[in-house]
Structure formats: C-alpha cells, structure tokens
C-alpha cells in the first residue's frame, strides 16, 4: 500500500448521463479499493460550468484528471477497466 501520497482527482462530466454516472461509480470503487483514505474527488459538470473545460484541456468526457501527485495524468472513458485506471493513475494495486 502506498504511504503518505495524497491523490487529488477531478472528474469532468457533461450532465447526468449514463456514462458519467458509470464513471463516477467506477472511480469510487477503484479508489476505495486501492487508495482508501488517500484520495479526494471533485466532480465538475461542464454543462453547468463550461468555462472550466479549457483549463485542463478537456475534450472527451468523462475525463479523470490526476492533479496530484505530479505529473498530471488524464484518463478518458467511463473507467470500466480497473486495470487500466490503475495504470493511468500510476497506482500499485492492493493485493487481495
């Protein structure tokens, strides 16, 4: 298990679509499993705040941005493939 690293994650979605709901659910599951207590998730709905899209260069939704630790990493899609999410976030999976 990772030690003192904190993961600051941002999930960009566009409205309450099936894809965005799935992404959020998938993300929560992955984080709870592998990063318990070390993460913070912020969900940004671009339909409500479109001006925030340019800042993180968001094109595709849903996009997960790992803002911390550096460097910035992006994962696009509904995060349904847990293995690839972990690779994308650069997280060591917890052995079960």
């Amino acid at each position: 298990m990772n030690k003192t690293k904190t993961y600051e994650l941002r999930l960009y979605v566009a409205g309450q679509t099936a894809k965005s709901l799935a992404a959020f659910a998938n993300l929560q599951r992955v984080c709870e499993t592998h990063l318990a207590g070390q993460y913070r998730i912020e969900v940004i709905d671009l339909v409500k705040t479109p001006q925030l899209a340019a800042g993180d260069q968001i094109l595709a939704v849903p996009t997960l941005v790992r803002r911390l630790p550096h460097p910035i990493k992006k994962i696009i899609g509904d995060l349904s493939n847990e293995e690839r999410v972990l690779v994308g976030l650069d997280v060591q999976p917890v052995n079960e």
Partner: protein, 581 residues
C-alpha cells in the same frame, strides 16, 4: 442585418462573404453561409492564414464575430503570426469580436478506458460561441485529434456529430485539413463529413520558384470558378488574382496622354497615347527602354498624377541615379509621394505571384500610370502559353481601372539583323501601342532607332527616327536617308555637315558671279566714259577746225573786198572779169 445582406447577394444559396480579394469573386459571393467548408492542403500552403482572414474580415467588415479553435498552434503563437499581416487579435479579442481556444491533447498523458465522447469539445466551442455571439467558426486543424485520441471510431462518429452540430447552430465554418495521399482529399477523409464546399490550396515549386494556388474543388448548389487561381499571402493578407478581368468590357476613353517625349507624341498622331491603353516598348539590350519608361512616369508626375514603376532589373536608388544622367530627376516625385518604385527580383516568386503582388500594389497606390520594366524578365522561366493568360489579366485589370500602362520587354537577337518582331509576339497582341527600339550598327558605331510598329485607333507616323539620349534628356531626331540605308549618329552629323558645306559653296559661287558681273559692268561703264570723252574731244577739234576755216574765209573775203576797193571801181571791173586787167 447580416441576414438581409445574404439574401441580397445570392439567388439560391445564401453566402457569407469572406472579404478576401478574389475569393468572393471565384465563389460568386463567398462561402456557403451557415454551413461548414473544408479547406485542405499540404503543410505551409496557407490554410491557417485563409481561415484566419476569413474570421477577422468577418468580424471587422461584416459584423460577424468568430471563434477560432486551434489544435496545432497556441493562442500566443497564432496572434504573433497573424500580426505580421496587420491583424491585431488582442484588440479584437478585447472587443469580443474574436475568441480563440487552443485545444491540445498530449497523447502521453492520456489513458483510455471504456466509453467516452467528445462532449467536452462541444461544450468548449458552444461556450465560446455564446460568449461573443459568434456567427463564424474555424477549426484548425481538427485532424490533430487523430494523433491524440487512439479510438478513431469514436472520433469519426464525434466529428460527424460536430459538423452536424455546427450546421444546426447556423455557423459558417471553415474546417482545415491536411492534404491526403492518393484519392483522399484529406488525410483522414474529412471530406466525407464536410461535403458542401471544398477548397484546396496548393504550394508547387517549378524551376525552383514556388507558386501558391487555390482551387474550389466543389461547391454544392452554386456555380463557381473551377480553375486553379494563383494567390499570395502578402502584407495585406490573402490575395487572389481576380477573374473579373476575364471580361472584355472596359471603357475606352478618348483622352490622350503625353509620353513625355514631344517628338514621340508627334509620331503618335501628335497627341500621345490614349488614357487607359497599354504601350509595349520592345528592344534589345541598351536601346533605351528603361529611359522611355522613366520619362513616361516623369511626365505623369509633372501632370500631378501618380505613377508606379515595377522594376525587375534595378533598385529604386539605381534608377533614380541613372535617370538623372539623362536629365530626368525622379527624386522629388518620390519625396512627394507621386511616384512609387516597386523593385523586386523576378526570381523572388513565380509569375503569377508577381502579378498578384502588382495587383495589390496598384490597388493600394491607385496610380494613373504604371510602368513595368521589363516584363520579359518575368516571363523568362515560363512558356508563352503560360504567360499569356496571366499577363492578359494584368493588362485588362489596368485597363479596367483606366490606368495607362507601359511595358518594356527585352528582345533577343541583337542589332537589327534578325527581326525583332518575332519575339514577344504573344504578349504584343495584347498591347495597343507597340514601339520598337533597334540598334543599328554602321560606320563603326551603334545608334538607336525608334519606330511605331502599331498604335490602335490613331494615325501614327511610319517614319523611323533616331533616338538620342543625352544630358539634356531624350530626343528624337530625323534620320537621313542615304542611298541604301538610313544614316544615324556621326554619319548623320557628317551628312548634315556635308550638306551644309555644299550650300555654303553654292552661296559663295553665286556671290562671286555677282561680283564679276558688277566688275564687268564697271569696266564697260569706264569704256563708255572713255569713248564719250574721245567723242567730245574730236567734236571739239572739228569745231575748232571749222571755226578756223570760217575765220580764214572771212578774212580772205575781207581782203578781197579791200583789194577790190583798192583797185578802184569796184563795179565794172570786178574780180571775175580777168580780161580787162
């Protein structure tokens, strides 16, 4: 307001004018309004510039704000790049006429997992459009996404949705794309989605000279020019060679212009050339073509008109210096802004691009007289069939603006042994007046001859004149016709001297004869006087003799009478009676 203009300009399909010189003419009014247009071409052929100018002119001239979404350059780079064309994007952004959005994907940062769409792009674009009330959109170059996003299936579906969405929102859009290989117009087949209007740009290099060309490949629902048109990215942006010049309907003013050389005007019906006509001066090396051109421009400036010289052989300063040597001072006109000398290397760009540059310069300077010195340098690398249409466009363009033009051209073939009429025939048929300069080599020197080969619509001299350049300027002198050839230069001067001395001799001869006559008359008069004197002397002698004799007789009579008296009687015994004595 824009709606109204659109319905006015087009009968069937509403069009959005680009404001780009020439492009609106080729497309008969502009790009399809509220629809996307695909502009494709290879790297560095001017796609971004075309799109940018479309947007800026739309915002400035047609009150249609626009969003520029770029995928390759960032905002600072783009702003710097287009500033060189005189567009101040910062200012336009402050005025909310232009919005820039830089979309960038770093493949290395991205991991793909599961389903997604590009709603984020739609939201960004929609947000920018709403922020400034945009009517125009540019996506430059949307294909960059193919490199950034691994799932091309999703991307293609989303692009199709994007172009549909742009149409639904009523955006007049330009989408740029890289030129594809083989049958593909663009590398990723964007033409599949954007099918209303396709414009291709091309940057070709032939004989080491590059020429940019534009072609409207497709324009659904509208007539359009189908040729390739050369274009230029100049100081004032994008510029296409307009095709209006292909019409043949320019006015023909009857006003005449002096060429600046009085004797030459005399040869051209006494009044010079028509305003708005074209004059072609051809001749071999060093026959004085440039000088005639400079004089022509000088004459225009003296009338207070603007003159423009395109120099392809000498720099501006060199022309001014050289012309001063024959008494033409161009410097004051340059200072006053009446004269502009546009000097450039012929090899700088292709013929078409030169002509586009000429167009731009003429449009900006608005001269009354244009001198091109020489056109032959421009046409050096090209075959005549290639040169004709482009030169025709220039000449007709000048005629339409009622600009009088003078073109010089160098003929090869030297000193009048070959027929100079042979060269430049194609170009010359476009010209109204053709002056031919020739070198004549004779008697150990070369001299210049000038004659009018043709001059449409006026009586013109059929005489050959000698063309003299001196400190005092340009002059035309009558030549002497010898037994088998015309006499020029020193031969002409010698002939003149010869004739002068002959006249002198004759005059002296006459005087001598008159003097002789006078002398003879005097001699005769003297003789007459002498004879008179002789006569008088003889008469006097005769008189004297008579008087003497008369006196003797008298004396004798008196003596006889006295003797008779003495002899007495007197009555009876006179002298005749001898017997009684």
């Amino acid at each position: 307001m824009t709606q109204k203009r659109r319905s006015e300009s087009a009968s069937a399909l509403p069009k959005a004018p680009t404001g780009i010189t020439g492009l609106d003419e080729i497309t008969r009014g502009g790009l399809p309004a509220r629809r996307p247009t695909l502009v494709c071409g290879s790297a560095g052929c001017g796609k971004t510039m075309l799109a940018m100018e479309f947007l800026v002119r739309g915002a400035v001239q047609f009150d249609e704000p626009g969003v520029f979404m770029m995928f390759e350059e960032n905002a600072a780079e783009l702003t710097a790049n287009v500033r060189s064309l005189g567009f101040d994007l910062d200012q336009l952004m402050k005025q909310k006429k232009i919005a820039l959005d830089y979309v960038h994907i770093e493949r290395s940062e991205i991991e793909e997992t599961g389903e997604y769409d590009l709603e984020g792009l739609f939201i960004r674009l929609g947000h920018a459009i709403d922020a400034i009330g945009a009517k125009r959109v540019v996506l430059d170059t949307v294909e960059a996404l193919f490199a950034g996003l691994p799932n091309h299936g999703i991307l293609r579906a989303e692009l199709r949705r994007l172009f549909r969405w742009l149409k639904d929102r009523g955006m007049t859009a330009i989408i740029t794309g890289e030129k594809g290989d083989g049958n593909m117009i663009t590398r990723y087949g964007l033409e599949e989605y954007v099918a209303d209007c396709v414009i291709t740009l091309d940057h070709r290099v032939t004989e080491q000279i590059s020429t940019r060309r534009l072609r409207v490949l497709k324009y659904r629902g509208s007539a359009h020019g189908t040729n390739e048109y050369p274009f230029l990215i100049g100081e004032r942006g994008f510029s296409l060679l307009p095709i209006t010049s292909l019409r043949l309907d320019h006015a023909a003013p009857a006003e005449r212009l002096s060429t600046g050389i009085a004797r030459l005007d005399e040869m051209l019906g006494g009044q010079g050339v028509f305003r708005g006509s074209s004059v072609h001066v051809s001749g071999s090396q060093g026959t004085g073509k440039t000088s005639i051109g400079a004089k022509f421009a000088d004459a225009a400036c003296r009338r207070g008109e603007r003159a423009l010289i395109f120099a392809y052989e000498e720099s501006s300063a060199q022309i001014v210096r050289n012309m001063r040597s024959i008494g033409i001072d161009l410097a004051p006109w340059l200072e006053k802004g009446l004269l502009l000398i546009h000097a450039s290397r012929p090899a700088l760009s292709g013929l078409e691009q030169h002509l586009v540059a000429m167009h731009d310069t003429v449009k900006a300077f608005r001269p009354a007289v244009v001198v091109v010195d020489p056109i032959s340098n421009l046409t050096l690398e090209h075959s005549e069939t290639e040169v004709m249409p482009t030169l025709m466009r220039l000449i007709d363009f000048l005629k339409q603006q009622q600009i009088t033009s003078l073109f010089t051209s160098l003929t090869t073939g030297g000193s009048g042994t070959s027929a100079p009429e042979d060269s430049q025939v194609g170009v010359s048929s476009l010209m109204d007046t053709w002056l031919l300069l020739r070198n004549v080599e004779f008697n150990g020197e070369r001299n210049r001859l000038i004659y009018v080969l043709k001059s449409r619509g006026m009586a013109h001299s059929n005489q050959v004149r000698e063309f003299v350049l001196s400190d005092a300027g340009i002059d035309l002198v009558d030549v002497y016709l010898g037994a088998d050839r015309v006499l020029t230069g020193t031969a002409r001067v010698a002939q003149a001297a010869h004739e002068r001395s002959a006249a002198e001799l004759r005059r002296e001869d006459h005087e001598r004869k008159l003097r002789q006559l006078a002398a003879k008359r005097k001699a005769i008069e003297a003789q007459i006087a002498a004879l008179n004197a002789e006569g008088e002397a003889e008469a006097a002698e005769v008189k004297f003799a008579i008087a003497q004799e008369t006196l003797q007789e008298k004396t004798t009579q008196q003596n006889s009478a006295a003797m008779a008296q003495l002899r007495g009687g007197g009555k009876g015994g006179n002298a005749p009676k001898k017997g009684p004595r």
